[in-house]
Amino acid sequence: MKSLDPRVARLPQVADTKAKTALDQFGTFEVFVQAKEGKPFQHEGCVHAPNLEMAYILAKEAFTRRFTCVSLYVVDTQDVSASPTTEGNQNVYSLIDDVKDGPDKKWYEVYHLTKRGKQHVHAGSLEAGSPGGAFSKAKSLWGADKVIYNVWVAERGKIRFTTPEEQDLWNTLPEKKFRDASDYKGGEKLKNFLDAKSK
């Protein structure tokens, strides 16, 4: 019988020598959330979606249906360039070469990983002619600061931001505490139930 487990079903058949076909799956999009006005955007994870706009609407509930926040944006994973990753006291900027950048400048958003196991946080914006140029410029701006373990850059024009009129999407979120597990005093109810039962 053919297994229904996708991890098994996805394996190639032994006698099958055909070229591997692409998986019938969506691409991924990186999701960044701003917890409070004035705070930097932080990477929260990714969503699968067929395109950028679908990624935005799916990310909105997948990542911001609980804890209060004020804004969110998404970008195709393939539009994010990542540096190598370092450990210990090695600053990743020491591995980044200075490149001679092209003349056609665009805005890039830059993200830093300041602690292994944590999330990337928005460090700032800069103008560059290519992702490589953006890394190089980021190094000149922030390379001498504290140790950074990984850097991402993403072209601003590729990002699906929350528009000014969409800022009200999260207005009623603080009132939805019932979405948090902590809002359910299950232990107390169980105790009352057991007490009532034992009487």
Binding site: V47, M54, E61, A62, L169, T172, K176
Partner: protein, 251 residues
């Protein structure tokens, strides 16, 4: 202001939201994608929250408590349009209903931000962001599936044709329509329908879906005066089950 006119408006809005909120919540755990399952469930929860706020206003006007109103009435005492009580069927139908209803709902609340009845105007302003997301979600899906594959276009087209006569039933007029408009409680169903047609066309024109000539369709009405399909009774039996067993139950 005539309280009967106000209550009629509040009841039909609250009942639409409660019944559709419950229907949409039936997708929880069964949605086509994990993220979509979460999004659709959140919006269902929003709708039930909005209906609760309206039942609370009714309670302040002397009606019974929200839970009593929600869980103890018979189908013939509900004022929701028939569109919202129809079974979910496949996801394409649920999406098309979500698009048609939520577009009207967004516009209704937008008009109500100008209502002469302050509690309603305040609530309209408060929930604007929720409604904005609901329509953004609906429009994005309809644009996506309405132009994706032969199957997705055919499915949406079929659901659109099935749902439209019911959607026109959203705008069934109230016996107090003139008064509702003259006292600036609400701009009225005719105005709402005009704005709705424009909005749904703006979205559908960006897809490969064909919009049938609306003037040839017969609206399916009766819901506003308590005439419903058999589906509503089944839904109410399920929704009120726990309350009927134990009215004091909390969870």
């Amino acid at each position: 202001m005539n309280n009967d006119a106000l209550k009629e408006l509040l009841y039909k809005m609250a009942d639409d939201l409660l019944i559709l909120g419950h229907r949409n919540s039936e997708w929880t755990g069964l949605g086509p994608l994990l993220e979509e399952d979460i999004a659709f469930s959140s919006m269902a929860q929003d709708k039930i929250g909005q209906s609760y706020a309206l039942y609370q206003i009714l309670h302040d006007l002397g009606e019974q408590a929200p839970d009593t109103i929600a869980f103890t009435r018979n189908a013939s005492q509900f004022h929701n349009c028939q569109l919202v009580e129809l079974p979910n069927q496949e996801y394409d139908f649920s999406l098309v209903r979500h698009f048609l209803f939520d577009t009207a709902d967004f516009l209704r609340w937008e008009l109500l931000t100008q209502s002469s009845y302050e509690p309603l105007a305040l609530l309209a302003k408060k929930i604007k962001g929720e409604l904005r997301y609901h329509t953004l979600h609906a429009n994005t899906w309809v644009k996506q599936l309405g132009s994706a594959t032969t199957e997705s276009i055919a499915r949406l087209q079929h659901s659109l044709e099935q749902a439209l006569p019911y959607a026109l039933g959203i705008f069934e007029e109230s016996p107090f329509e003139k008064e509702i408009i003259s006292t600036r409680l609400f701009a009225g169903e005719e105005e709402l329908k005009k704005q709705w047609l424009q909005k749904i066309n703006e979205v559908l024109i960006q897809t490969q879906l064909r919009v049938p000539d609306i003037s040839t369709l017969t609206p399916i009405t009766g819901g506003r005066s308590g005439h419903h399909s058999e589906h509503l009774t089944l839904l109410l039996n399920e929704m009120g089950e726990v309350f009927r067993i134990d009215p004091t139950a909390e969870w």
